[in-house]
């Protein structure tokens, strides 16, 4: 089996993701704004209760927030836009006519789209919230460096798994889109789930004790929360290995079940008209 079709799908979506330069700048401004507001809220909460032993220090909460904001477009908010369009127009039949493994074909495209959106934003925001913020004297509010070199290396591995996991969840939204012939459902379900369960809204370590194990064990934690915890060096119950293990578990489980769901969907896909 040649890899070329999948690299082609990846390349195409990567380019499409990079094309919207104004969206990158607009997104950066929005994310800086949300990040700054969240930071100020944390600062006042932490200063109001200096004696409480929080699971994250204020510096850690700030860094967590900056990384989350910079990785916002890595979240599986809905289906791949190209698949949404194809489902609406019926051009999705052509995807079935290509001599490729449908899962890998859509997965390559979905991963490329996530990375094409997220990588430039993440690099820009990290530069602004990290070194640039320190240079202009906002060091107390800036994105802090990794806990150690080992943390940095493991976090890099973990965020790679996180990107793959996110693309795999996007695959589930893609299949939902192919079944309902509309991308709307995937966004209606995907956006709130991803924003809430990834820790984007509130860092998962800051939720009440009793719910934290469940939040860590669900798949969306593996996208950004686990990599950020590893970067910060904050303890993960069971250690870093558990964090990586959870990511690999969800990646495998969602791939196997998703492939089954896809096969069943392709068998009953009845595109109207033509």
């Amino acid at each position: 089996m040649s890899l070329r079709p999948y690299l082609t799908a990846f390349g195409l979506q990567w380019k499409i993701g990079l094309r919207y330069r104004i969206a990158v700048v607009a997104g950066l401004v929005a994310q800086m704004w949300f990040g700054a507001v969240t930071l100020m809220a944390y600062a006042s909460v932490y200063h109001a209760a200096p004696d409480v032993q929080a699971p994250l220090s204020l510096r850690q909460a700030m860094t967590y927030t900056w990384i989350q904001q910079s990785l916002f477009t890595l979240l599986p908010l809905g289906c791949l836009p190209a698949i949404g369009d194809a489902a609406r127009t019926g051009a999705i039949v052509y995807d079935l006519l290509r001599p490729v493994d449908m899962w890998n074909w859509w997965l390559s495209a979905s991963l490329a789209r996530l990375l094409g959106n997220a990588v430039p934003r993440a690099v820009l925001l990290a530069c602004v919230a990290g070194p640039l913020a320190m240079l202009v004297g906002l060091g107390a509010w800036s994105l802090a460096g990794p806990a150690s070199l080992i943390s940095a290396a493991l976090a890099l591995l973990s965020i790679t798994l996180g990107a793959l996991l996110s693309a795999t969840i996007v695959m589930w939204w893609n299949i939902l889109t192919a079944r309902t012939l509309s991308p709307l459902g995937s966004y209606a379900v995907g956006t709130p789930l991803a924003v809430l369960l990834s820790g984007m809204l509130l860092p998962l370590p800051l939720y009440p004790d009793w719910i934290r194990p469940f939040l860590l064990a669900q798949p969306f934690a593996g996208i950004t929360d686990i990599p950020i915890r590893i970067y910060l060096g904050t303890p993960i119950p069971g250690g870093v290995a558990t964090g990586l293990g959870l990511q690999i578990f969800w990646l495998t489980a969602l791939t196997l079940l998703g492939r089954l769901w896809m096969r069943q969907t392709v068998n009953r896909l009845e595109v109207q008209g033509a």
Binding site: L12, G90, Y94, P99, A274
Partner: protein, 326 residues
């Protein structure tokens, strides 16, 4: 129970059935009802033939096309295309066919035609040399030179359809499936598409399966027409046979510079319309040959002009559908 693959047939279909289960009322607990789209059809298409596949809307054509393309799984029956079962060998099967759905686009809206073709080259794994050759040949035959670098969204419908056909052939498929390839096209574009398909079949021996509602496509291209209705094959013959068996009558139109006279007609001919200055006579050429009828009316007083015509292909097919309540 596999039918042995034939060396000469590109497509063999036997006793193909497809039933759709639809939910009525749209609720979770709604009753389901089965709709029979294909009710046991059988046919085969030899290599290098252009077969027209026609039928009214909802007859089951699209279902059959989708099954042959490998994107729909039938309820029962056997199909072999190039010796492969489309829905069990999907990847191997689709690598050897080209498909154009006239109402859909397979090229990428945001890309130029050339970029789209290059992507298809990668998807189908076409070697660079063969790609360059095919691209040049298709660009020439389909007159794509001027639009190669335009993005697909900027193309007119006629230009886009020519690009779509090129896209479906970049990997040298043995079989080309055209689903309404001339829909919405202007006359020159239709003629260009027809001429191209004709040459493709003649020069490269590509097998073509064509569905259309434009009977002129069928008349111009198809050596054979398969008429489908209610999920069954109603006729499978050269088009001329369909004409002979369905509507073999001719029409004689007479123009007069005064009121047409009353006249007695020989057996097999009858008056079908009378206007202030013209008369239409329909006749069966087997009962009364055209020269005899012309001789019979030729001396009528005040006759200015006369024309003999055959029913149009649209009239024939309308009559055929009506006869079969299709």
């Amino acid at each position: 129970m596999q039918t042995p693959p034939s060396l000469t047939d590109a497509i063999t279909v036997s006793n193909l059935r497809k039933t759709y289960r639809i939910r009525e009322g749209g609720s979770w607990r709604g009753k389901t009802r089965d709709i029979v789209a294909l009710d046991g059809i059988s046919f085969s298409v030899p290599k290098g033939q252009i077969a027209g596949f026609i039928g009214p809307n909802g007859a089951g054509k699209s279902t059959a096309i989708k099954i042959l393309s490998g994107i729909l799984r039938p309820t029962s029956g056997e199909v072999q295309v190039n010796g492969l079962v489309p829905w069990t060998n999907r990847i191997a099967h689709v690598a050897r066919i080209g498909v154009v759905f006239g109402q859909r686009t397979q090229l990428w809206w945001d890309l130029s035609v050339a970029e789209g073709l290059a992507l298809l080259r990668d998807i189908y794994g076409v070697e660079p040399e063969r790609f360059a050759r095919n691209r040049a040949r298709l660009a020439d035959a389909l007159d794509l030179g001027g639009i190669m670098d335009q993005s697909v969204r900027q193309l007119s419908l006629g230009q886009r359809m020519r690009a779509e056909i090129a896209a479906s052939l970049i990997h040298d498929p043995d079989i080309l499936i055209l689903d309404e390839p001339t829909i919405g096209l202007d006359a020159p574009s239709k003629l260009a598409v027809r001429a191209f398909v004709h040459e493709l079949c003649r020069d490269r021996g590509t097998t073509v399966l064509l569905t259309t509602h434009d009977m002129h496509d069928i008349e111009a291209l198809a050596e054979r027409v398969i008429v489908i209705g209610h999920g069954r094959i109603l006729a499978d013959s050269p088009f001329e046979d369909l004409r002979t068996t369905t509507l073999s009558e001719r029409i004689l139109e007479l123009d007069f510079h005064d009121t047409p006279p009353e006249l007695t007609l020989p057996a097999g001919a009858h008056e079908t319309a009378r206007e202030p200055h013209s008369l239409t006579i329909t006749f069966d050429p087997h009962q009364i040959p055209a020269p005899a009828l012309v001789a019979h009316v030729g001396h009528l007083p005040g006759l200015d002009d006369l024309r003999i015509s055959r029913p149009s292909i649209d009239e024939i097919i309308t009559r055929f559908y009506a006869d079969h309540a299709a």
